[in-house]
Symmetry: D4
Subunit: 253 residues, 8 copies
């Protein structure tokens, strides 16, 4: 029940066209949220400026295709994550204007005439094996309207590679840092810059890497300021958080 409906309702009560009992029944619904929250939800979708996203993992190809096609009809951006090449090809056949990226395992269909992307996001990966997660973050961020500066393969075991790009790092307004194994890169970067850093642990490594938990815990226990963390391999979540920060920069001026 949006504001306009409320205005109407009250008007109808005032002019007598709506009886007290009937008005009560309609308002009663508010207490259980049936209308009120639908409004909230609608506002939220607009607010975040984030397209609804299909998490493809565990969904049947036909199901993914159906949801994506439905979203495409509404005219907005369509982002499908965690899908293999076969599902990607299926989506391209259905929605030829979209593209499938085998590295990030995403399908993206963007409406034409987009606005200028919001600058300031840097996506960094420690190793080459971390690139798929980094690309999930980068592609999702682009789908959300952010410009992305990528810097890959600058892990701590050869730390000079990172320092060659120090100025680039310092120009960024938000840095997403993707790292597996010992997960130390976000700590190092957060110690060098003033922007907020979002760490994304990956499952890269074996044995003591604990499927990414070592990297996760290493990032959480870092004493570097300005560093927060998302779930293992959750490039998409990092992109959401980066968007929330950068949209806040612009939206509030």
């Amino acid at each position: 029940m949006d504001r306009k409906s409320l205005v109407k309702l009250i008007a109808a009560v005032r002019d007598g066209s709506l009886g007290a009992e009937e008005a009560l029944a309609r308002l009663d619904k508010l207490a259980t949220g049936e209308l009120g929250f639908a409004k909230i939800d609608h506002r939220r979708t607009l607010r975040r400026g984030i397209p609804e996203v299909v998490f493809g993992e565990g969904k049947a190809p036909a199901q993914v295709e159906k949801i994506a096609a439905h979203m495409a009809e509404r005219g907005g951006t369509v982002l499908v994550t965690r899908i293999g090449p076969d599902v990607g090809e299926r989506l391209i056949r259905r929605l030829p204007a979209g593209t499938y990226d085998p590295v990030s395992r995403t399908f993206l269909l963007r409406p034409r005439g987009r606005t200028r992307p919001i600058p300031g996001l840097m996506v960094v990966s420690a190793g080459t094996a971390d690139i798929p997660v980094a690309e999930e973050a980068a592609v999702a961020a682009e789908a959300f309207g952010l410009a992305v500066d990528r810097l890959y393969d600058v892990g701590v075991a050869g730390i000079h590679r990172l320092f060659e790009h120090l100025e680039r790092l310092r120009r960024a307004r938000v840095i997403v840092v993707v790292a597996g194994m010992e997960g130390a890169l976000p700590s190092v970067i957060a110690g060098l810059v003033e922007a907020p850093v979002i760490g994304v642990p990956t499952a890269v490594g074996y044995g003591a890497a604990l499927d990414g938990f070592t990297a996760l815990f290493a990032m959480l226990t870092s004493c570097a300021g300005g560093l927060t963390v998302v779930n293992i391999g959750n490039g998409f979540g990092a992109a959401c958080a980066a968007h929330a920060i950068l949209a806040g920069h612009r939206g509030r001026r």
Copy 2:
């Protein structure tokens, strides 16, 4: 905002004593729950028939005393859990009508003229070391208006002791079973009765007992039907669940 307020509001709009803008403002609050949910909360308190309870662990004695005294003034039952003898004595000095029980580590003050307790709850413990948790469940259940049949020290390593009480077990309508170490007693009992069984793991045992997690996992992985579980040592939670079930029996006839 309860129904009466809504009726009034609508009447005021109808008779013109409340302007459209003002009415809108008041109703707008419903969308964000400010009034609506307060009502929900109030109804909930009455509904569960459970006194508000003070979880004493980690609270300063003075804080516990203050909350308990405040609750006592409203005239309802006062239950304080997880407090040592010193806090118990402090509460008795302040609220002499209450009693402190050193085994369950609870303080209970009940108003006079209570209604007849709801029968059907049995509280069982595997070992003597599990009794404090069992008593937390039993005392809380009594505070909630349930009658409690206690059966203690009937663990699986001497399983004949349990069978001597088979008929009692089968008469119960809900059974709370408290067990540490291998936590097998709830499985065995759930295999012998038709009533729902609520397992309460305890931290009794050492080494492989894993501070109660072995008992917890054993109860969860049991294939005996009708068995559900609460947190380690959560006698109070088991009492809440038992009350929800037994109150449902009576309240819905």
Copy 3:
């Protein structure tokens, strides 16, 4: 050996129609439980009103078919859980009166002329990925003679969807709440209703979801009253517990 049999036995001994040796042999069985416990078991099967169920996971298709056919011959309800479509089709070929449900992965054959289902159970799921477990609970509950009200995809990250159904939730007498990832929905619901809530964690999620353990622990550590928990993905166990509670309501009047 029930009381009547014992009376007869003693009478037979008294009037000499049963020799001492023969009487001894019969009574001897009591000491090792051969008769006594068989009686217990028989009573139990009748008592719970739950059909014997075949847990299909890990069993060979031929084995599953054989057991199901044997159960069908006895004329009762046949429920087979955790089977894929191939085993489902095999069962339908053998027992054409049954149905296979690919979502819950169950086969169900119910005798005709069933009695009216017991009302009061609601099955709720947090996300769409939790539906298979929710359906296992719902189908099993229906097999046990319960009527099921389903409410799916009302997770906490878009909590307004839940509130639209508050009244339905409050009418339920037992609520089974299925949730993966952070597993917070059972807590929220248990805070809103007075009926007992049975939480079923699922393995939905990745990384920090810990194959369902995060949801499991979240449910166990909740401070919401009236909430108990079953094993990860154990929709069937939740249905058993719901039946034990609702059968108690009716059976004891």
Copy 4:
């Protein structure tokens, strides 16, 4: 070696007052970072706008006092975290212009004539037991020059309490959400607002709460967008991240 020194060095080489060998030696140091990085570090301290902070846990009282006094002499803000009342009193005796807060267990000494605080931070706690960590975040944020809007005790088991403050939540530009036990509050809030949300798990709860790991994992596995996480009980870290975000808003216009 700052820019000015480099200009001087080059000038000295040009005018012949510095020999090639000597210049080489000085520049050689740059390759190993001796001078270059000192500059970097200095810039960083100014950049973050965050006072150097003393982590008091595990340090001897005398050591804490000495460091704090040394920092106070330099005239900046002094923040000491994780200290008990005895250390707090010791610091007040030494630095009477500072204050000790027993809830957040922090000592804070701020220079006079501070600039106007940066608005936009909200600090939310799920339960009363989470307040110490929430206050560590709030006090640290204030020490960093942020204004803090506090909202405490609005956990998911009585979720209506949260909704009464929905508009306040939506006005915030960054929200730090502190929660123990099932740790679901950050998910719920991130689903209701557009600002970035920083979850801070706490060790509140017992048994399945796993000393805060259940809350931590629940926050990480949430599917709510815009949510990132810091270490268990790390209110200070959340304040650093909030400052990095809000300083970015202002500093970049």
Copy 5:
């Protein structure tokens, strides 16, 4: 109710000296096990030849004293485990014929005129820090009537010390091997002898020793034949198992 009693009972019914109702009452008890199992229990106590033992950990000194005194009155062996020197002294004051051993933290009171101990048990410890657990096993075994050959401080990091005693090891009929840290000694010994080996992990070590779980898992994963394991620090349990084996040797000839 043993066979003889049953014969008598039936005879009494036949000759009319026992009425049907009375006979029924007596037999009825069998169905719920009241007599049957009591008999079982009694037989068990005699059978194992193990005195009832008081597990002192977590019990109040007064409680321990009371139980021990009660057991002493019945004239059997009294063994109290896991008690400190203060409780030990308290027991000696009450039962001066007993002895307290500060290493194994046990109190033992044995009746005079004991039979000759059963030979064949060897108790081995890896390090000196493992001796308290080894002594708990040794003292308990002696209380059960076994003779104990002790061999301490022969861990794998200086494995030559073990080999000096190879013949003694090979003469043993059961070997209890107590080891913390890497817990490798039971594997090595089980590879050298033919007797059954019972491994007892201890919590000796830090960090990766995991409070004894590393030793426990190392013993369980050993490929040495004839090795079984008890809980961390459970010297008493090892003594029980050793007694079960050695009593079987003798009792069955």
Copy 6:
């Protein structure tokens, strides 16, 4: 270097046919064990009376076949464990006198004219899903020359089934009890008998069953006397331990 060789060596030194230096060189080898330990090993193989066993898991079929054929040539018993039907058939083609058992996944070839098996071992399983591990224990025990009394599907959730066989259980001299899920059966049985009980946890169950660790820990934390434990699924290890105990009974008379 066996005794005979030593006698010869000394004789040769005495009669001068062996020079001092040469004798020294030979004896020096003893210090490093080259000869001495070979003797030990040989003695050990004879001693345990256990055929050498091929652990088939992870070995290539050709490798398994080669080892088994080599062992068969020496004329002893050949036991191959953890192999699938394809490897089993391969072995039967090569060694037609052997048999492959698909339940225990073992191949066994026994020489003719075996001696009478040692009686006294009972192998018990909790559920039908535990039978493969129970059969691994039983088949291995038979290969070691033990007679096996099997009792399957007597788990604690329907505990009356166990009691029907109480006398059989009490006649056993060693009981191997195989159980997954809550792993409570070994505790219950160890509380009912006087013989040593060897618990074998299995990975049966899901979620909280923790791939067998819940059963393992439950068995370890049991307070029933006489119970020791082997690794998850290690039926073979239980058979080794049972043999060590029963061979001790007989061999020492």
Copy 7:
């Protein structure tokens, strides 16, 4: 920026051919490491004397081939680890001078005319199932220019096999010891020799072997001096460490 460049730069400034501003710009880069660290990296590659290695696990065959071919063109040693036979054959077709070893799962191409290998490394394995990891260590070490003395299948459950080789063990200057299951062999060996011992845990074993973590923790908690550890299955890492030690021996004379 190497020394020569610096000399030139300074000369250019001195003779006026380089302006102050330009010189400043070039030197400024040093602060961010762009030149300085490239030099460092180059020195490092030469220094370690270790060929760059391709970690094949998780890389596409085409990717592996491309990298290996590129490395081969530069004329150095090419080592590819963790690849199956299909990738191995692919590499041999491309680089016929190389060899693929199916046990260690490595491909190695070495330039002709190699220098004499550095002696002193021994690689020991506990069981035959540990050999693949031991061979990864051995092959990598050989690729690094070390001579390797192999000693396999000398685990602690038959410890006499180890002692037969005591002198060989004592002649080694570094010993890499590979062991799964209880992982005790490195402890035993480190107790017998004076050289540094590098333990490599493997995932050999099941259940309580915890995929190699039991072996890892056992090695870490050992009290034997001179023992350090690498990740589970990390034969390559052990070879790197062995090379670092032995190269140090030689390089520093």
Copy 8:
């Protein structure tokens, strides 16, 4: 039995002064190691050049004093680790020539006239809280005759501090790197130098630091070459390993 004894024995046999039987008896002992291994052990003590060390943790003060005094009488170096100031003072009263260091919590008594220390060891710590463990390593190394170059508080969150000391790091022949929390420093250093690096994780940090396991796992999963690891907080073990490496350098020339 050393070589001289063997020569005597053989001589005695040759000249007839020792009978064959008697000689046999003496030699027989060799087979079980009684003499042979004593020799081995003796050689080992001399070989490692490491004084015997008293691990003070968990030992009674009187016990520690007694052992230390006994060792001092033999004239060698006495090192006691993990003792508090009270035990330290006790030792100083007894052995006034020794010193107690409260940071490393060690007592050290060194004989006069020591030889020149072996150079090449650097001990590095990430934070100030890691210094106690670093000092345990440094003090122990000095007790073993090594010279120690200390570099403290150069953690990765302010990584420029490390680079200021790059040349010192590169001069070292073995580097012990002590780090808690994310434990990344050993990776970074191993990527910068050619010497072997020994990582020592510490329990510094809270929550996700997991009492040092995060640092431990981070070090193990690092891809930096030449890095090996010891147990959490095991500064002493790192010193042993460093000594084994450096003694090898010198001893083998």
